[in-house]
């Protein structure tokens, strides 16, 4: 199976280990076989081992090592934020974060909502069953 996501300049990656865990960063240069120069609008440009990065599908159009302003402009032009938040991976992460931050009362309300939804589904199912029976 051929690879689809390549390490290239402009590739957006998700940091999966370390201080910047969970951040989306842009690969801005490749230092050597193991490390990349990585940048994001809210962090200082620095090196990161490829093992700490998980590549995403998103790629932006930049030259090697752009300055911060150009980088931010390119990210806006490619609309990275909304592409990420609409992708199924991005949506999953958002849901995980929301679930982790739920308060005890919120969890209770979610439970009530689930029960309600299941009740409605079951009613519909019963109706359909009766029709086909």
């Amino acid at each position: 199976m051929p690879f689809k996501r390549y390490v290239e300049i402009g590739r957006i990656a998700l940091v999966n280990y370390g201080k910047d865990y969970g951040k989306l960063v842009v690969i801005v240069d490749v230092i050597d076989q193991n490390r990349a120069l990585v940048d994001a609008p809210d962090m200082v440009r620095g090196q990161m081992n490829f093992k700490r990065l998980t590549l995403t599908d998103i790629k932006i159009d930049i030259k090697r090592v752009p300055n911060k302003k150009t980088l931010i402009a390119a990210m806006e032009a490619a609309d990275v934020k909304s592409k990420w938040e609409n992708s199924s991976w991005g949506r999953k992460l958002i849901v995980q974060k929301k679930r982790a931050s739920l308060n005890d009362f919120d969890r209770f309300k979610v439970m009530l909502a689930k029960i309600k939804k299941a009740g409605v589904v079951r009613q519909e199912l019963a109706k359909l069953k009766k029709e086909t029976a």
Binding site: D104, F105, F108, K109, L112
Partner: protein
Amino acid sequence: MAPQQRKPHVCRNPDLIRGVGKYSRSKMYHKRGLWAIKAKNGGAFPKHEKKAAAAAPAEKPPKFYPADDVKKPLVNKRKARPTKLRASITPGTVLIILAGRFKGKRVVFLKQLTSGLLLVTGPFKINGVPLRRVNQSYVIATSTKVDISGVNVEKFDDKYFGKKVEKKKKKGEGEFFEAEKEEKNVLPQDKKDDQKSVDAALIKSIEAVPDLKSYLGARFSLKAGMKPHELVF
């Protein structure tokens, strides 16, 4: 003397390094104005006479000397004060009780008593927990708050919850054969009225929030997949 609105005094002799002041002794003498005080007093520093010490009553030699030196206990200056309340527990917080008869019940915190225990109520109509004292260590504080402004909890203190002292009955032979305790522990009517008055205002503010009533009526339990150290309460 009651200090009136004094501005905090800036240090006259700031530290250059710890242990070394900026000004020398002679400079400090000048800064403190001791020369002015002496000048005002005619060349010498003003002093007042010592108060005549009250004549101590003549001590008689003690009648008894202990055989060994009696050790004095070490001085203990600690003061008893109520347990420090966790910052997450404020009046109106919903607490989860973790032990005892009401374990798992979600309950409203009213105030901390002088003994350090927390005064808590169900409310009784909602989950069966009466006005009760609970130790802070056996409680999880959630971040849910109930509006408690309409409730007056001034009259409740530790004595209100103490055990009632019964008058001792004289032992008579006949009484041994009778039923030992004829009177059950009936809750006095005034305690029931206290509960009702506290809960009335509370229940109103609870019903203002959707689902809060059923939330307080339900018990808390850990389900599969819930990790207490990762849960946000």
